[in-house]
Subunit: 471 residues, 2 copies
């Protein structure tokens, strides 16, 4: 979004507050009063002109930097979150600690040895094991995860497996990720069964640059990997494929220090704006504060922290607190298994019935294009109405039976908390996600401001409503 | 250029050969015959449909990979060039060896230590020295090369200097490179004078990704650097700048194995199509076969090798050789100081008067948009006419007094060889140039084919002409 686009939106919003809203003022059954609608519209106008969201991401990524789950850096990030909440004047600020196992990446070196020496741009995958010694081995090429799955038990002894695959399909919804992700998630289950010394996979992300895409693997039953598992960048995987197709024999040397290092503490930071009439009822928004350690976690998920904290802050500056409590949760340790999300759902198990709705911003910083929900019938009408109010900033109403408010919301959603989601355009998200290239300069401040506008209006309207959302 | 764009060009060329060309057929003074013009147009049509140029780059970057000047890999590349010339049926194929000093990059490790630990994406600059031991030092920030130049003698003892600067301005002509390049070229002259332990510079290239830009430094009098000198990526430099502006103290640890390793051999590969009437007269086109070792040298300068070899090959498939000899030179060791260019000019010093014109393709693989020249008055009219013939593929006539036919042409141009240049759109070139991201996938085969078309037509017309070009 350009600055002039922002202006157009501002004008559209001004017109809205003087025309379409007043046309509806006579309707007694409307879920929102004229005043509430005007307040929501004013919040959007303010948000579009505000730099607060971007400033928060800039502070987090610059002053804290990369923040691997469970690391000293994540601890500094949690303290930063507490300080930020206090500075911005939230009514209540706290940390809820939890214990977690710590996986550390350590140093990785991966070199193609034959047909000639070439450094490969690679990264260890989360949960991968250390190489006891430098591995020097020939590479067995598998066109995709299905080919590797068909490898016979013990057939890869003394070898390194390479799983190619198709480059992730780019889409607005990020739909290509799950499919591409299989080789990262469970590739090692097959490689270990077949006896491989190590596994190399084509990166899962859509980046055409020479960045490897990291991310957590899935346990094999109760166990993590016993071999090194690494991803190489798409251009490096292309080179492997071309060499393989030429009939060349590939070999590599690989050493990796990745390992599990025992239990450490992490935590969730909770920022509350206490409701003026129903303080016990909680409207929860959040994002995760940990990041992978190869970038500085700007789009994943510094952006979400900036968006949700800024949205709540703009609401806190209204003359009056909304009826219900607005809670911003900065979840810890999301990347390594939604640990903050699970810790929250467990700690607040007895109070989840008081959670009106929950949602998380964790899909980058591009513009929001759709509002989906999974709430009861009466509340669906309310969400329909919110979508109309968001329409001038380019948002359409999506499905009303779409569960899942974001990764860290899953554990509480599974326990019955209703969800909504403001879907962002994720077309370019996987170009950056989990790579060294996830840095502040990749965020367009105007697009991020549109996110803040959508969150501020939506959350204000729900928090100032009396409608129950439980199904 | 899209496939449909290719089709449009093909149609435009067909129309040209039946209309505008025939209108001029009566003009006796025209530098080219109707048959020559039609042949040139047919060469363009063939080139736009041919994949030969791209196939050559694919072969070089896949089968040989990175090819640092003077390395074993460059030797393999030279052998590859000889084999390619033979396979493609050139009349004469040879290697002209020369001796050169070998600088090897070795391993580099650069970590920001304070205000927190973060890996920096960095690369040693060509000619930089080894760190005798791990350097642990605080960083002194300089906003630009001018600020560093003002540092007092001895004022940086025990420190590491960081030279920031403005990110390179992107342009079609690449005009921003020279200015940005000062910090890379001569930054260390000032840092050494001021007593710094090492120098870090903001990368010179225009990439917004986390890739550091390498490249050769300039000697300080007769000497190369005595300290490690490294570039960090633009996003890392942005982070340094933001932290500095926040008043944070920066420190780093740095170790580098870069060093000079004595004399080795390199060479130029010469592929000749012997002229049918004036075999002693040489029309020289070329590109450099060495590359920096961090990428696979696709746009710099595998593309140039593909373009010039394919263009000459298409000419070789005409029913008759042009009157003059067409020589393709694959220059060795360009990146480290135009060593192949100097070796050629020296070895052929006694025969440079027989070089009709020389030009090099060394600016990537985007489309050519302009034809410039530096030839005598009569030949200028001929180049004007060639520009008209190239017009349907999107090329305009530029200056007729523009010296310099490309880096490796400079040494022979200084000895009086006339030059032309087919200027490519270089807007995105410095996003890739000298970085790990310079890989095959970054080349658009259609754009590269347009280059082959332009070279084939231009070189054919000059080689089949009798016009002398000397000024």
């Amino acid at each position: 979004m350009s600055f002039s686009h922002r202006l157009v939106l501002s004008i559209a919003l001004s017109v809205l507050s003087f025309s379409s809203l007043s046309q509806q003022s006579a309707a007694q059954q409307a879920p929102f009063t004229q005043e509430q609608k005007e307040t929501a519209t004013q919040l959007m106008e303010t948000a579009l002109k505000s730099e607060l969201g971007f400033d928060i991401v800039e502070s987090l990524t610059t002053e804290i930097g990369p923040r691997l789950a469970g690391s000293e850096a994540e601890k500094r990030a949690l303290e930063w979150g507490v300080e930020l909440g206090k500075e911005l004047g939230f009514d209540k600020v706290s940390i809820e600690e939890f214990t977690m196992p710590f996986w550390d990446r350590g140093h990785l070196h991966l070199l193609m040895n034959t047909p000639y020496k070439q450094e490969l741009h690679a990264t260890a995958l989360g949960g991968a094991a250390t190489s006891e010694k430098e591995i020097e081995a020939s590479v067995v090429y598998f066109r995709d995860i299905h080919a590797l799955a068909a490898a016979k038990d013990g057939s890869l002894k003394g070898k390194v497996a390479f799983v190619d695959g198709d480059k992730m399909v780019k889409s607005q919804t990020g739909a290509g990720y799950g499919q591409a992700n299989q080789r990262r998630r469970i590739g090692y289950h097959h490689a270990e069964r077949a006896g491989a010394e190590a596994l190399i996979v084509r990166s899962v992300g859509s980046s055409s640059h020479r960045f490897a895409h990291t991310g957590m693997m899935s346990k094999n039953g109760d166990n993590w990997a016993t071999i090194p598992v690494v991803a190489i960048s798409n251009p490096d995987a292309d080179q492997f494929r071309r060499l393989h197709n030429l009939g060349e024999s590939l070999s590599v040397s690989l050493s990796s220090e990745s390992k599990w290092k025992g239990d450490v503490s992490s935590g969730n930071v909770i920022l509350d704006l206490i409701g003026s009439e129903k303080p016990e009822e909680i409207v929860l928004i959040g994002a995760h504060i940990d990041s992978w350690d190869n970038g500085t976690g700007a789009v994943d998920d510094g952006a979400g922290i900036g968006i949700t904290v800024a949205a709540a802050t703009l609401i806190s500056r209204l003359p009056k607190r909304p009826k219900r409590t607005i809670r911003v949760v900065m979840f810890g340790a999301e990347e390594v298994g939604l640990l903050g999300g699970f810790a929250y759902a467990e700690k607040h198990a007895d109070n989840l019935h008081n959670h009106v709705v929950a949602t998380e911003s964790d899909f980058g910083a591009q513009t929001i294009w759709q509002l989906v929900s999974n709430v009861n019938e009466e509340a669906t009408v309310l969400i329909d109405e919110i979508a109309k109010i968001l329409s001038p900033i380019g948002i359409v109403r999506g499905g009303s039976d779409v569960p899942g408010g974001g990764p860290d919301i899953i554990p509480m959603q599974q326990k019955g908390v209703p969800t909504i989601r403001l879907n962002q355009n994720g077309r370019d998200y996987f170009d950056l996600h989990h790579t060294p290239d996830d840095t502040l300069d990749k965020i367009n401040p105007d697009e991020l401001a549109q996110n803040v506008a959508a969150y501020a209006a939506t959350i204000y309207l729900i928090a100032d409503s009396d409608v129950n959302m439980k199904q």
